[in-house]
Amino acid sequence: MNDMTQTNLERALKIVGSRPARPDGVDKVTGRALFGADKSLPNMLVGRVLRSPYAHAKIISIDTSKAEELKGVKAIVTSTDFEDFPSEFVPNGEMVVNMKDITRNVMAREKALYVGHTVAAVAATSEDIAEQALALIDVTYEVLPHVLEVEDAEKPGAPLLHDDMITIGIEPAPESASNVAKRVEFGFGDVEKGFSEADLIIEREFTTQQVHQGYIEPHACLASVSEDGQAELWCTTQGPFVVRNFCSKLLGFNAAQIRVTASEIGGGFGGKTVVYLEPLALALSRKSCRPVKMEMNRAEVFTSSGPTSGAKIWVKIGVKNNGQITAGDCVLKYQAGAFQGAPVGPGAMCAFAPYDLKNVRAVGYDIVVNRPKVAAYRAPGGPISEYGVESVIDEIAIKIGMDPIELRLKNAAKEGTIAPYGPKLGPIGMIETLEAAKSHPHYSAPLGPNQARGVASGFWFNIGGETSSSITINEDGTVGLTLGTPDIGGSRASMAMMASEELGVPMELIKPIIGDTNSLGFNFLTGGSRATFSTGTTVVESTREAIEELKKRAALLWEVSLDQVEWFEGHARLISGDEPKTMSLAQIAKQAGKTGGPIMANCSMNVTGAGPSLGTHIVDVAVDEETGQVSIIRYTAIQDAGKAIHPAYVEGQMQGGAVQGIGWALNEEYIYNEKGELENTGFLDYRIPVCSDVPMIDTVIVEVPNPNHPYGVRGVGETPIIPPLAAISNAVSRATNKRFDELPLSPPKVLAKLMHG
């Protein structure tokens, strides 16, 4: 792969780096694009879900007999309709999951563990009848005490969600069960020795609240299982292959029985990487032998899908007066929700990752509470831990009188730095983004009254993973691409651009589609900033294979050996010979049948070599000291993309991630009452940023190529949500001369701090 990389990085690019129209653009602006809830089938039923009204309760019995008698009710499913599994971690696609937990999250078995936990599901001929049937299902609960916060859940004597949960990662293993699923630790060196060498030590505790991805499209699916057990599933997901694997396990199907087709997806951000409705719809369809459509309403999305963790964080950093960090230490306690699996491992790994430290330790705890099971959310775990660290870095900068960018530059991780999680880093762009921030006009622009400027950096790993895609050369010289990673933010455009660049044919002649699970080998999901990197890698590989085949056909027609043919700008070209000879892709394609048959190629691989992406954000805020309101006045996001295939969509990722981070920092939070009920189950009180809340988000794309991708791509989606939390908190702290350590910075919290310190 490295040789190809060389040639690509050195040659002038025609398409990659430009901003063409996306192939699905017209469908999206005309309302033609079909999302999860937009498809129907003849004879279709409507499925609805009965959810637990209790945060923690034993399910004594479920009586569905009255509901079954209701005319129009065609199927009812409860936990007995799903497989059970022993408690063990098994690979599912690329995720490691505990199917015992997954089956219980999809449908409560012994206990309901959060308000909104699925208890039963009904399929009926209309939504009204389905709703009436839900009311007729008689569930007997024994209500148990519940626990919502990590500091309460870890106490001895706290209500136990799982009687058999013995903390992993503590030697010797604890003898009794607790709500602490796991302890992880990363680091090296001697932090105590490091602190003893410090001139200044800052130690602080932080709190963040549970937040939701807030995708605008609710979960939706349409399942159809025929009498012979063949299943079709249409759903909005980041990973149709992952859905297939989950569903086949949960329902006792084999993988070939279920064909999953991903709809257009209306946002995911990690929240559409697991299954909720899909196995229910399949089970209902299997029972009724009719298509079943299911949609969550907005309240269900908030109560019953997978937000990310709220957390308690403790950070301690020691530093010399010259800004040299001598040690970094942190303890992270993340809410897992009802089942283990908080993203505390990656949170701990990346907490100090922007820095080159000699003594570093990060300890994390995965703690179950009576909230929905968390799912991935953009850079899972990263924003929380890095918020704590970046806040302390800022406090140090103020205390030692150093510019916060200079302090970061002095300690910045670079190629060869040993990452806190062990390995040496390859080329990364921390220094480059900091330098770009320092020289950006924003950083030296004057500030108004009650305004201040905050800075923070962020690190995310990025991932590769199992990927499969194919390319077909049509007989008229046009090209089809079949991809296995759903397009959430314009990836079809990027893939077509890379194929266009390789082939030397205009992008308009290339049609990329997202294939179903029967059309390709397994694809891990769209997420972790992997689509442009991983699927892009397979597209380039398969395109190059197709070019080889095209050259072969030209060689046949010219009656020369293959090494006499090269590929140049959409044409096969004879290298030697008296007169120049070329044959266009279309000319070769036209004769494909006569020269050996259709031309297609595919590439399936487990892609490795993802390159971490670093970002640095600058924000100006104004604080109304009488009301505690924080306004974002100016915002600049700077990030190393490796290589921006389609810069407009790279900017879009940076802008969108930054604004999600702004929401996390300012107003988003899950608010529970004492009964464990979520009080803000709609967009009215779960306050994601609206258009008038934010300014333009300026972007600077830094390109430090990833040597492991043909064009240098790193992946950009995750990193931009990390810096805003600390950047804004740092700005508010600087504006008010008080150090803020709690998110969100909503007006009541800010004013309380200003009034009481």
Binding site: Q629, I671, E679, D685, R687, V690, P747, A752, M755
Partner: protein
């Protein structure tokens, strides 16, 4: 659920008298309650075709605003905006542009939320409403309508036909401010409407401050006349206003704000609306 569209006020009242009947104007509250199954009406009475209930017009002594007029239409009325900028500020804050296309003053009042944006402004402007019923029409001050959260003083079969606002005397200014966590799309944590009139020497001749979301109903601040009448506002009188506003608060703690926060903000917004209203009055 039956749906009827009465063509006269009497027909509307007769329909509304029936058990389980709900009035539909802009529907921005009712449809949410239907969707969340908070209410299950047996009948929805769409009152938008009742004469006089739609539209805004200047009258001999002021303004008539039909109770079912969409806020977007009121905001587009230039001379009304000139007369009552604070009322317009308030009603243009009710929800998004889309909500503005439907939301009405009648609905905002009869939803009887302590946090309704238009209500403190209308009360501070000394607005009244015309209530239509089976046997008679009656006129009431707006502050008499909401009796507790979700409950109004309307009798069975009654609905609001429209609102009357006086033609502001020369030297009058009003203002409305609310505190929300975001810049838009939120329910007021506190709302404050203030109307003041001044003489040619810029001395205050009348003052009315009404607060929303700080008690079960909107609260008109008492005791302001003694402090402000005959004077220009100064630091001392404004501090007293802040204290009176804070003392008037009987807020709840909920997902939108703490008691301490609401109390503090009631003072801040009273002060800020007075400053704006006074400024407008002196330029009027």
């Amino acid at each position: 659920m039956n749906y009827v569209v009465p063509k006269t006020a009497l027909e509307a009242s007769k329909a509304l008298v029936q058990e389980g009947a709900f009035a539909l104007a802009g529907g921005t509250d009712l449809l949410v309650k239907l969707k969340t199954k908070f209410v299950s009406p047996s009948m929805v009475v769409d009152i938008k075709q009742v004469p006089k209930i739609m539209g805004i017009e200047a009258t001999a002594d002021g303004w008539w605003i039909g109770a079912a007029t969409p806020c977007a239409e009121i905001v587009e009325h230039e001379s009304f905006c000139k007369d009552w900028p604070g009322v317009v500020e308030a009603l243009s804050l009710i929800g998004s542009t889309q909500i503005q296309g439907r939301a009405t003053l009648g609905g905002n009042l009869c939803n009887a939320s302590p946090a309704a944006d238009s209500v403190p402004a209308l009360i501070s402007a000394r607005g009244t409403c015309i209530i239509s019923g089976q046997s008679r029409e009656r006129e009431e001050p707006i502050e008499k309508i909401v009796t507790s959260p979700g409950v109004t003083a309307l009798e069975k079969g009654e609905f609001i036909l429209g609102f009357k606002l006086p033609k502001p005397q020369s030297g009058t200014g009003d203002a409305y401010l609310r505190l929300i966590p975001r810049s838009e799309m939120d329910i007021a944590v506190v709302g404050a409407g203030t109307t003041v009139s001044v003489d040619k020497n810029k001395k205050i001749t009348s003052i009315r401050v009404c607060l929303g979301a700080i008690a079960p109903t909107q609260i008109v601040l008492d005791g302001l006349e003694d402090i402000f009448i005959g004077k220009e506002p100064d630091e001392n009188s404004i501090n007293k206003l802040v204290s009176i506003a804070e003392a008037a608060c009987k807020p709840i703690k909920d997902k939108r704000g703490t008691i301490e926060y609401r109390t503090k903000i009631a003072g801040v917004l009273s002060k800020r609306t007075l400053t704006i209203a006074y400024e407008r009055a002196t330029n009027h």
